[in-house]
Each structure stands twice: as structure tokens, then as C-alpha cells.
Amino acid sequence: MKQEINPGSPSCLNLEIQAITYAGSRDFVHIYLDPPRWEYMAGQFVMIRPDGWVNDPIWPRPFSICEKTDDSLRLFVQVVGRGTSLISQLQPGNSIDLWGPLGNGFVFDPQDRLLILAGGMGIAPFVGLCKKHPHPEQISFLFGHRMDIESYPLAEFPPEIDSEHLKQETTADIQGFQGVLKTRIQNFSGRGMILACGPTPFLKVVQQYSLEFEANTLISLENKMACGVGACLGCVAQTTSGDYVQTCTRGPVFRADEVVLDEQLLNQKAYRK
């Protein structure tokens, strides 16, 4: 059985910012917008473009839908470059163009056990998912992060969720985290569904162990996007059959055995099935 949410048809709106809050530092920003009328599936995303950008930056920016309530649509943004820096300086009352919901979300059976793996901002799509999930006790959550844990909205997650977080400061930390990932994926394989979101190096590790232990894993990719609607072919991921498919419309959520993140894994058996 699939999740019963109907993602509906996307639309392009100009939405007002209700509030902006900062978490931990000025580099972690929660943006609350007037809520659009569509429903969404966790893992889907929106493209946004503040009114003031005119021609520079030319592209919008993609963000996961963090949470949507009757009152607001919420995005969780980390400042990493020029675009996100400009976004973090927006004020309540400013408007932005926003289109979505875009792409395919995480499809899973709400009765099933879930292992959620998130790296850094990969936590964003899981905020709404976990808060709305009918059986939070079915969820295990493993979170790897670089900055102080206060920067991330972990405290909002329902207490029924079995959650662990690991801070990565040194190379040893990173290796340690990879070890934990391996154990978790190995132990969980065959017992439910794994959902993963985070930076590409993190996803590569998740993919590698998912293939190795034949886990049922969905990963959400972060590729550069220009249009977000499947038109420009700029955001493609390579499938195991060698084709390039749009991350924005065929993803961003893919089966772990469907796309090639690391050419070296192509030889791995699990890929071939």
C-alpha cells in the first residue's frame, strides 16, 4: 500500500514570508510562508526565487518541503553560498516566487518499519514526515551532522522515535559514522524501508551498504537545477542502464539500486538485478 497523500498538480505562486527564524547561528534559517493549497509527499521539493533577484542570481534554488501545516509552509535552509545567503537576509513581508510540489517523494507503507538516515540538511524533508507519521514508534532515525545539534530541528521530532545523532568533527568521526551506517543498514536490511537524504558523499556510503546488504533503500539526490520541471536536462542522474534522467522529475527520490553515484559501484552485484 502506498502512502495515501495525493501530491496534486504543482503551481507557481508568489508567497509572502510570514516569519524567519534562525537556529543556532544565522546560517540556519527557518522560513515560514503563506501556505499554498496543494498537498505534498515528504521528499518533494519546491523551487524558490526571491522577488529582488531580477537577473542575478539567474536561477531559483531548490529546497525540500520541510513541513506544511494549515498555517504555513516551512523551509529549512542552510547558508552555503550566495543564493542561500541572500535568502537568509529576507524579511517578513518580502515575497518570493515558489513552484511545487516538485518531483517524487518517499513512497512507503506507513505500517512498515522505517530507518531514516539523514546527513546535515538532509534532515529537512523528515521533519514533516516524522511529525505526521501515524506510527512514530516504527521509525528509527540516525542523524549525522557537522554543526552543533541546536542548529537542527531534532528536538521537534516525536519522542516515540528511536533517534540517535552523531556529530562529525574529525576524520575519525566521519569514519566512525560510516561504521555506524554500515551496522545499521546491515541490521535493518529486510526489516522495512530505509529512507536517506543528505550530501552526496553521505549518500554514496548509504548506497554502497544498501547494495551490499540488499536493503530496500530510497535516496534523495541533490543535483544542481535550473528549471526544476524536467525541461532543461541540467540536473540529470545516471541510471544503471546508462541513461540520464532528470533528478527534478524522475527523482529527487530514487531507489538506491537505480542510479549511479559512484562509477566504481557499477561492478557491484546488487546493482545488476
Binding site: 507557481c12 537577473n55 539567474i58 536561477w59 544542481k224 520541471v229 536536462l233 541540467g234 545516471q238 540520464y244
Partner: protein, 303 residues
């Protein structure tokens, strides 16, 4: 004012077309506007056989513009005709097929395959793609090679208006414009992208796997306007202007220097409903400026 324009046999309800490669196969945009409101839809460059395109990364953002090196990934002309064209509103709005091939013969074969397709309003021959090893610029920079392609396409597509899309990566646009006109082109469109490059000083790698890419967007509008102006003063066939259009004002600028219609490319990434709202904005602007007819305004630049 009636916004419609005729480019020879190609009739548009307004001068706003989409630019190839920036509007997919059109259907991607149905959530954002009514395709039948557009002057014409130019679809992604199609080749005889499907093409995978270039490896990633394929796009990079630049000041007021972008680079792309998609490498003409497409589903092939056959699949397009079978799966996409029937879903497009070709009765209300001309669908223009942008053609890519690696040899003059292949261009001719493509033309033949499309000549009898009722749903295809015109062919746009892309002799100007900077992102493929073969076929693109080798025609667009050489007047003789360009003329040969045009002649062969014309011979095999007698029923369709043939648009030839020119490259700005030339010393003198007038030479190539003249050459394709003489070879029988019905319409020319320009400009395609300018050759460009971006690099990442941290990784020491080019930002595009293909190393080079094509520059588009507002950054190139001044280059486009000049070349369109020069082309309009050189040929007698209709000219379609494009390059960096994001506003109704930009559209009027191209028409002022002589373009009969325009194409909107990179602006489709600014907002997916951009090209639809441009139709409205253009109506408004034409009213505001008291423009009575395209014939009076077009090419009326005082220079």
C-alpha cells in the same frame, strides 16, 4: 492591437515563441500556463536516433546568465512524434521541431521524416550548437557548409517553413545570414549560445564535464540585439530574435531592431510560467506605448 505575426507561411497569434532546449517538449509546462496561448513552441533539439547527451555536470550559473552543455540529449524524432506531438496543441499553436544532426545527409533525413507530419508547424535547423563534437558549430561557422545543409533540408521538407538558427560565435553574422538566405532558408533565428567556460578553483576542474558550454541569459542580450539588428539589415526573409529576453521591454527591443518574432529561453528557468505572463505583459506594454501595428513598429529604430 492584434498581436499576430506572419513569418511567411508560419503564422503566430503573437510573436512569443519558446526557445529550443529551455522548454522541454512543451508538456513539462502544462501546470503553469496554457500552451495554446503561445505564439509557437519550439521543442528540444531532436535527432534521428535518441541521444544520451553529455555527462554531468552540465550546467553552471554565471553573472546574469548560465552555461549549458547538455549535449542534445533527446528521445529521438520517432518517439517524439509518437508520444509527445499528439499531446501538444498543434492545431492552435505551431509546434516547431528543432533539428540536430551530425551530417548534411542526416539533416536531410530528419527533414524527410518530418515533412509529412501534420502536427509539425516548422523546422528549425540548429547549425549552432557549441556543445557537441560533430555537427553543431562546424556548420554554423562555415557559410558553405551551412548553405549545403539548408539546401538539403529544403529539398526534403518542401511542405514546411524552414528556420535556420545561427550561431553568434562568428566574426561577421552578416556573411552566414546571407549564405543561408541564398540557400533557401525561409526564416532565420538568432542567437544560439556564446561559447563559454567556468572553472572551480577549489577542485581545479571545469564546472562542466564538457569543459566548454553555451552562455545564455540576460548577460548576452546586447550581443544578441546587435546581431539581430545586423541580420535584419542583411536579409529579406523574416528574422526571429532571441538571447536574454526576460521582459516585455526586451521583446520590443528585438522587434524595434527588426525581428518579426522572438524566442524566450533561459527566462523559462526564472519562473516556469514566465513565457505565459510575457504574453500578457506584452499586450499591456503595447497598449501603454500606443503601438498601432507591428508593421509600423518593427525595424523603426532611428539609427
Amino acid at each position: 492591437m492584434d498581436l499576430s505575426v506572419n513569418l511567411g507561411a508560419l503564422k503566430l497569434k503573437n510573436p512569443i515563441m519558446t526557445a529550443s532546449g529551455t522548454f522541454g517538449y512543451g508538456l513539462e509546462f502544462t501546470p503553469y500556463g496554457r500552451l495554446e496561448d503561445l505564439g509557437a513552441i519550439v521543442v528540444k533539439g531532436l535527432s534521428l536516433k535518441p541521444r544520451r547527451g553529455n555527462p554531468m555536470p552540465r550546467i553552471a550559473e554565471t553573472p546574469c546568465g548560465m552555461l549549458n552543455a547538455i549535449g542534445l540529449q533527446n528521445i529521438g524524432v520517432e518517439k517524439f512524434l509518437r508520444e509527445k506531438l499528439p499531446l501538444l496543441p498543434w492545431k492552435q499553436t505551431p509546434i516547431v521541431v528543432n533539428l540536430y544532426a551530425q551530417s548534411a545527409q542526416e539533416f536531410a533525413d530528419l527533414a524527410e521524416a518530418l515533412n509529412s507530419e501534420t502536427g509539425v508547424g516548422a523546422l528549425e535547423v540548429n547549425i549552432s550548437c557549441p556543445n557537441v563534437r560533430q555537427g553543431g558549430l562546424q556548420f554554423g561557422q562555415d557559410p558553405d557548409a551551412a548553405a549545403r545543409v539548408v539546401e538539403m533540408v529544403k529539398k526534403n521538407a518542401a511542405q514546411k517553413p524552414v528556420i535556420v538558427k545561427l550561431s553568434p560565435n562568428v566574426a561577421d553574422i552578416k556573411v552566414i545570414a546571407k549564405a543561408v538566405e541564398s540557400a533557401g532558408a525561409d526564416i532565420i533565428s538568432l542567437i544560439n549560445t556564446l561559447g563559454g567556460m567556468a572553472v572551480d578553483i577549489q577542485t581545479r576542474k571545469p564546472c562542466l564535464a564538457n569543459v566548454f558550454g553555451g552562455l545564455s541569459g540576460p548577460a548576452i542580450k546586447p550581443v544578441a540585439l546587435k546581431m539581430v539588428y545586423e541580420a535584419c539589415r542583411t536579409v529579406n526573409i523574416p528574422v526571429i530574435g532571441l538571447g536574454g529576453i526576460t521582459r516585455a521591454q526586451d521583446i520590443l527591443e528585438f522587434i524595434l531592431v527588426g525581428a518579426r518574432a522572438v524566442q524566450v529561453g533561459t527566462a523559462n528557468f526564472i519562473r516556469p510560467d514566465k513565457v505565459f505572463s510575457l504574453v500578457e505583459e506584452l499586450k499591456e506594454k503595447v497598449r501603454e506605448m500606443d503601438i498601432d501595428s507591428w508593421d509600423e513598429f518593427r525595424g523603426s529604430i532611428i539609427a
